[in-house]
Amino acid sequence: MTNGEVSSTVAPAKQVTVTINGKKYEAGEGEILLAVALREKIAIPHLCYEASLDPYGACRLCMVEVVRHGKREMVTSCTTRAAEGLEVVTDGPEVVKHRSILFELYLAEAPKSEVIKAMAERYGVTKTRFLKKVDTTDSLGNKCVLCGLCVRACNELMGAGAIGFINRGPYTVVNTPYFGATRDCLGCGACVKVCPTDAIGMEDIKDERVMKSWSNTRVPLVQCSCCGTYFAPKALAATILARVTTSLKEEIARRCPECRGKLIAKKEILAKTGGAR
């Protein structure tokens, strides 16, 4: 189901009023509270939230306080849905206290991540009291916070299932099965794109894309029949082309985006001018 279908078949959500930090905002009923806040430019730190995936609730950074009958209760804003009269406070003393400790835990878990450092600093946390993890063999360079976005993008969005969680508890890591190169990887780079801490290494070396963090899985690239550059992973191209029905299939398959653009423009001109120069 595409987004277009959703909007055409489902009636637009009822509008409700939610109160965030004392100010009133309009929101769709059932809309994710974190999304509402982000749209309204209210800063709530978060690591495991991605609009195209279901809420996951693992990073615990987006916790806010819901006010009900004068009492405050801490909840994750990514799993809280907008409802009429919902009242939340994003920076109450309880939240600030616990969030700071969480940031300290993150600083210890991913000591090499500049993103985490910068994010923690924005919330006033520059040091950690906890022992920093130093693992020189970590393929994710001590930057991974196990938010799960790469695993979920690979499984739920791309349907590839090339990576997953290994072990459990404090021993959890993300990698390919048995830490071996996998044929399931499409080389799409969705994992790299969604990673909030820039932990995943990917590099195109000549005719191959190398997923450095994923057991050096190598995915062959397609060469442009026109200019000779390598432009897309073969496996990904095959998956996409299977869904494409346009007459331009051949051009998409064999030419890089730049050469494809040039060729299509040329064809258009030829058609318009009837072949005359």
Partner: protein
């Protein structure tokens, strides 16, 4: 043979009674896992050898466990017209003497623990055994049993768990018969609601309400599940309930299924309980044979079947959403609620699902049989009924203890448990498993109910009570439980995965006398954050051992650190 009516059930009951009171001597060896572990099986085999060799007219059978772990192996002897006698600490070398005395209508007095002239199996069935053996103390006079009230363990250790006839003999399946043939689902749910029964898995959620929510969920299919993933160190109530009386669980499930409109039930049981799995499977088979499970239960047209799903050794799979994930074949990791299991899309395969603990289900048949008024009268207000606790650790009388809710810790530990083992002074108890807290001796007048335990910083949990004496190092206790929780964390959310790891590191440092006062402060702050921010119950409760030992035994921490 299919049981289709009350008279069919009554006929079967006669057959069963013949087995329990066969009109000749009956010797029954307690063979739950605990009894087997201390040599019960060898006792059984030796007895069998002697009986077979001499062609004696004695019935030899197995029963479950009555719960007095300290005295095992236990052997019951029934001589017609005489009280049932429980022998204790029996070994295979006692077998000849047992057979010799039993053949003469006697029992070996020096091995006798107590005698039972009559036993109340609760569901309107009391079995009279007889009088005699005056030299043997009465069951009701044994300090370990005197303060107990057996409702859930009503049959444990007295009937053969592998024979459905014996369960039927003591009034088994009459509650299911009553529910299916004489009550409508609404009436059943009302009865459970009125009884005040609360979830025995630890959270204490009102069972009737959960059933109503499941019943009211609009879906063409519903599931009920029994949570038998008992994983707390030192807790084994559910194991014994299933090993000693599997049919009471099945009967509870049938009544629940009928009330909620489910056609399928599952028992999610940890793979580490092979005997319980074996006996449950056998019980399900026998129930099928009698038409108590299947396509036309009691001839009413009601359809219900029970399947068994085994766990793979993860403690966190006792958490409802992780449990469902595990059954579905996914990794056992909790997800945020809502959706709850009872919601559409939240339960097993997306269908509304009711999940209750073994012991919760086992309460259902007696509530239906005896009525909610009878049930309500047991226990305290808001905490009705009894609860089984496994009393373990450094306590004199180790065993399974069933008492009305609201009984004080003192009664359980001092009166029933007889205080510390080897005459040591009891210092504290840890209730509720690894996520419970340590309660110091000075608070032992705390009544054991859901709210009072919470107030003391601990939880009911599934019912483990671990006793610590004057020699126990409380910081080490906290470290032990944090180590357990760290290893069992699923690793999904940061406070539990990273927070518990750092708690453990801090505790290790303090234990190694390398810590500082600052480390204790950090540990306390971190624990608060783990409680406040974790995704599921595991993380939210895991720091309890640290928080309670810090609150009650701070001096032990202080003694270990530099100023």
């Amino acid at each position: 043979m299919k049981i289709k009516s009350v008279s069919d059930l009554a006929a079967r009951r006669k057959v069963g009674l013949q087995k329990i009171q066969p009109g000749k001597p009956r010797i029954a060896v307690g063979l739950a896992t605990c009894g087997i572990a201390v040599g019960g099986k060898r006792v059984y085999e030796r007895l069998k050898e002697i009986i077979d060799k001499n062609g004696l007219d004695i019935t030899l059978t197995t029963v479950g466990c009555i719960g007095y772990c300290k005295e095992e192996p236990l052997v019951n002897i029934t001589i017609p017209g005489k009280p049932l006698v429980i022998l204790h600490k029996v070994s295979e070398t006692d077998a000849e003497e047992i057979i010799r005395t039993v053949s003469n209508g006697e029992v070996p007095y020096d091995k006798a623990l107590c005698q039972v002239p009559a036993w109340d199996h609760v569901k309107g069935c009391t079995l009279d055994y007889g009088k005699g053996f005056d030299r043997i103390p009465l069951y009701a006079d044994i300090p370990f049993f005197r303060h107990q009230k057996k409702v859930i363990l009503r049959d444990a250790g007295l009937i053969n768990p592998e024979d459905i006839d014996e369960y039927i003999a003591i009034g088994g399946y009459t509650a299911a018969m009553k529910a299916l043939t004489g009550m409508d689902p609404e009436a059943i749910i009302k009865e459970v609601e009125k009884s005040g029964l609360r979830g025995r898995g630890g959270a204490g959620f009102p069972t009737g309400l959960k059933w109503r929510i499941t019943r009211d969920a609009k879906a063409d299919k519903k599931y009920i599940i029994c949570n038998a993933d008992e994983g707390d160190p030192g807790a084994y109530m559910n194991r014994n309930e299933m090993e000693s009386d599997p049919h009471m669980l099945i009967e509870g499930l049938i009544i629940g299924a009928f009330a909620m409109g489910a056609a399928e039930g599952l028992i999610y049981i940890r793979a580490e309980y092979p005997l319980a799995i074996k006996r449950l499977k056998l019980a399900i088979e026998q129930a099928w044979e009698y038409g108590i499970l299947g396509k036309d239960i009691f001839g009413t047209g009601f359809v219900f079947d029970i399947g068994i799903a085994t766990g793979a050794g993860a403690f966190v799979c006792g958490e409802s959403t992780a449990l469902v994930a595990s059954i579905e074949g996914r990794t056992g990791r909790p997800h945020p609620r809502p959706p709850r299991l009872t919601d559409i899309g939240g339960g097993l395969f997306g269908y509304p699902t009711d999940l209750n603990n073994v012991e919760t289900w086992c309460n259902v048949p007696v509530i239906i049989s005896n009525g909610s008024d009878w049930y309500q009268a047991i226990g305290a207000k808001g905490n009705t009924g009894t609860k089984v606790f496994s009393l373990v650790g450094k306590v004199d009388r180790v065993g399974l203890v069933e008492v009305p809710l609201g009984t004080t810790l003192n009664t359980i530990v001092s009166d029933i448990g007889n205080g510390g083992a080897n005459n040591k002074k009891v210092k504290a108890v840890q209730t509720g498993g690894p996520s419970g807290g340590c309660i110091p001796f000075r608070l032992f007048d705390t009544p054991v109910d859901f709210e009072s335990l919470n107030k003391a910083g601990s939880i009911m949990g599934s019912g483990g009570i671990v006793v610590m004496d004057e020699d126990t190092d409380m910081v080490d206790i906290a470290r032990y439980f944090i180590n357990f929780a760290t290893g069992e964390s699923c690793g999904k959310c940061v406070p539990c995965r990273e927070g518990l790891k750092h708690s453990l590191l801090l505790l290790n440092r303090i234990m190694a006398k390398k810590g500082t006062k600052k480390d204790i402060e950090t540990l306390a702050l971190l624990s608060d954050t783990i409680v406040a921010t974790s995704l599921c119950g595991l993380g939210q409760t895991a720091p309890n051992p640290v928080l309670t030992t810090l609150a009650y035994f701070r001096e032990e921490y202080d003694a270990l650190v530099k100023p």
